[in-house]
């Protein structure tokens, strides 16, 4: 898993929440304004319809002889096209008024309908949406009153414009503000991510930063911190128990070894003495394992840079080579050392010797007689020192490559060899103590262990 930077504000949970809220708010506004518009236009339509009904009612009651004049008079007053009226004969020919013709779809049944009306004197406005009401007079004439619905439509437009302004005035600053607000939690999460880094690498003593605001992030960090404390305590206990067992068993085992050794010395030369010698060797193996186990704990508990100095890694590697060359030679193995120019490094030469001695010892152990071991130290393109130890042994299967650094881990291939599976755990602890990194590679024609040391 790698850290993903939270620079992309849209990806944060807060930003997503703000977007969702924004969308919900917009939808709600649209619904609300829609309802308002619908309600108000319905109300206005009712008012208009009432007026139309009243006007028609009035005209119907007018004396039929004066009707033409009345309609013309009403039309004449209606200079603004507020409400137009028209009187038509049974064939639909206009007799009076300013309505050009009977609007299509208008029935003489006393029901107000939405029509397209043509009103004279207002040519620009003819053919516009309107409300209309018609009735048939006893003489077969038809009476039509029409009122444009521009007022109602205008109201809808005002409400729609208002909605547009309102939404943009609230949503844009809201979103901007939201992004600003979202940046703070994103920054805190980033801080927590950074704080988690050493924890992922195994340093359980680190705690997440708590801002003190007592917010959700603090609550979460607090919970994680408590959990970390508990894990640290439990791990410490497990390690403590293992260490204590190793520690406590060493004393009686050493005494046992001493007794057996003394008896063996006394009866030197007999077949029983050989048996005893084998027993002493077995105990020595167990004691060596306990020593190695305690050594791993000791290294893991050690504080970094306790006795670090500017070290000459080339000399350390040369010493390791000198120390192991005779062993490789005895096994007819080619053991080569190639030290190039190295950057300045800080570290503990004693510990580095121990680490590389373990790696080289392993390489010699797992390489068949007549094989080759090669230790190469160079400065890699990034300026760090890299030391590769390659052998021609069976290699380490890809699936086991992480596991080999664990305590007591022994691969299938290695079970037959002497050893305790602690050497690489020691190497790993030393490398980690230095802030260096250790990787294993290679193929089935040999393993390659690489130690990368950042330049000081």
């Amino acid at each position: 898993m790698s850290l993903r930077p939270l620079t992309d504000a849209w990806r944060s949970a807060t930003s997503r929440l703000i977007l969702i809220y924004g969308a919900l708010f917009a939808i709600w506004c649209v619904i609300l304004l829609g309802v308002v518009q619908w309600e108000s236009s319905r109300y206005l339509t009712n008012v208009v319809d009432g007026m139309l009904a009243a006007r028609l009612h009035y005209l119907e009651r007018t004396d039929s002889r004066r009707l033409t004049d009345t309609v013309d008079a009403a039309s004449a007053i209606d200079a603004t096209g507020f409400m137009a009226a028209g009187l038509f004969d049974a064939q639909g020919r206009r007799l009076a008024g300013n309505v050009g013709k009977i609007p299509k779809g208008l029935e003489e049944d006393g029901v107000v309908r939405a029509v397209t009306a043509e009103v004279e004197d207002h040519p620009g406005e003819s053919g516009r949406r309107a409300r209309g009401l018609a009735s048939t007079l006893p003489g077969g004439q038809r009476l039509v009153v029409v009122k444009e619905s521009a007022t109602i439509d205008g109201l809808g437009a005002i409400i729609r414009r208002g909605a547009l302004w309102g939404l943009s005035l609230t949503l844009i600053p809201g979103l901007l503000g939201g992004i600003l607000i979202a940046r703070r939690p994103a920054r805190r999460v980033r801080q927590i991510q950074l704080a988690m880094e050493p924890i992922r690498e195994g340093d359980l003593s680190v705690r997440l930063p708590v801002s003190g605001a007592g917010d959700e992030v603090d609550l979460l960090a607090g919970t994680v911190n408590t959990t970390l404390g508990e894990i640290e305590r439990l791990l410490g206990e497990v390690k403590g128990v293992t260490d204590n067992i190793a520690h406590d068993l060493r004393t009686p085992l050493t005494r046992m070894r001493t007794r057996l050794y003394r008896v063996q010395q006394q009866i030197e030369g007999t077949p029983e003495a050989e048996q005893l010698e084998a027993a002493v060797e077995e105990i020595d193996t167990v004691l060596a394992r306990f020593r190695a186990l305690l050594r791993v704990s000791e290294l893991e508990d050690r504080q970094r840079s306790a006795c670090f100095e500017n070290m000459d890694l080339g000399t350390v590697l040369k010493n390791v080579h000198d120390f192991y060359a005779p062993l490789a030679e005895d096994r007819h193995q080619l053991f080569e050392l190639d030290v190039g120019k190295l950057p300045p490094l800080r570290g503990d030469p004693q510990l580095m010797f121990e680490a590389f001695a373990n790696l080289v010892g392993n390489a010699i152990k797992f390489t068949p007689n007549g094989g080759a071991i090669r230790m190469v130290a160079l400065t890699d393109p990034t300026g760090d020192a890299r030391i590769d130890i390659a052998d021609t042994g069976p290699g380490i299967p890809v699936g086991e490559r992480d596991a080999v650094f664990r305590r007591f881990y022994r691969g299938d291939e290695t079970r037959a060899k002497p050893g305790c599976g602690l050497g690489l755990a020691i190497v790993s602890a030393i490398v980690r103590l230095h802030g260096y990194s250790l990787a294993v590679g290679g193929n089935d024609e040999g393993a390659v262990f690489s130690v990368t040391c950042p330049a000081a």
Partner: protein
């Protein structure tokens, strides 16, 4: 008879140490705490002191630094349950001459005590030649002769031979060899030391020569003329 002072608060360990030193011809006295130990070490002329690192009353480090402050140069073998290298460095810096981690094999303790005794009696400074039987080491010219014939030794082999010859007749363990010749204190584990001894042995104990390097089973090596 050389006299040893054992400053150790654990009675069982103390008894083991006294018995082991006794078996190697030392007369050992036991003191259970630091303050009394310091008084005894100052008052009586001991040849060697084994000093526990953790003591009630007065710490082992304090005892040894106090001794050195008062110019008492008796060799001190520090014994401690603390195995970390830092602890070892601290112990040696305070004035200890060697450092042994608990639990230890008694013969390891005896071997270290004898090496310290010998070094104290015959200081290394000023010595230019070491001779054991017909094996000669010239520390100035850095060459070695066996029966008058020059030997070709690598630098490491020379240091190894010097260590064995300085402690001729004395068993030295693999751990001691690794510490003195290579200067490291961890457990080299494998049989690397044996391989180095084997090569040295092939060079100095050639055909027709009396073998000088002997293996002591379960313990280490000794360079000594055959009995």
């Amino acid at each position: 008879m050389p006299r040893a002072l054992v400053i150790e608060d654990d009675e069982v360990t103390a008894r083991d140490i006294v018995a082991e030193l006794g078996a190697h011809g030392l007369q050992a006295d036991w003191v259970a705490n630091g303050r009394d130990g310091l008084a005894r070490a100052l008052a009586d002329g001991y040849d060697i002191i084994t000093l526990d690192r953790m003591l009630p009353g007065m710490d082992g480090i304090d005892v040894v630094s106090e001794l050195r402050k008062r110019s008492v140069e008796t060799p001190v073998l520090m014994i401690s349950a603390l195995s970390d290298v830092d602890e070892r460095v601290r112990g040696l810096r305070a004035g200890g001459d060697d450092y042994l981690t608990k639990p230890f094999a008694p013969d390891e303790l005896a071997a270290r005590a004898e090496v310290l005794l010998r070094r104290h009696r015959r200081p290394e400074a000023g010595e230019t030649r070491i001779r054991v039987e017909d094996l000669e080491l010239d520390l100035v010219k850095h060459n070695a002769l066996r029966n008058g014939q020059p030997l070709t030794l690598l630098p490491t082999e020379f240091r190894l031979l010097e260590f064995l010859m300085r402690n001729a007749g004395q068993v030295v363990t693999r751990q001691m060899i690794f510490e003195h010749v290579w200067g490291f204190h961890f457990d080299p584990g494998t049989n690397v030391i044996d391989v180095h001894i084997g090569r040295l042995r092939r060079k100095i104990d050639g055909a027709g020569q009396v073998p000088l390097i002997r293996t002591v089973r379960g313990s280490g090596y000794v360079l000594a003329p055959a009995d």
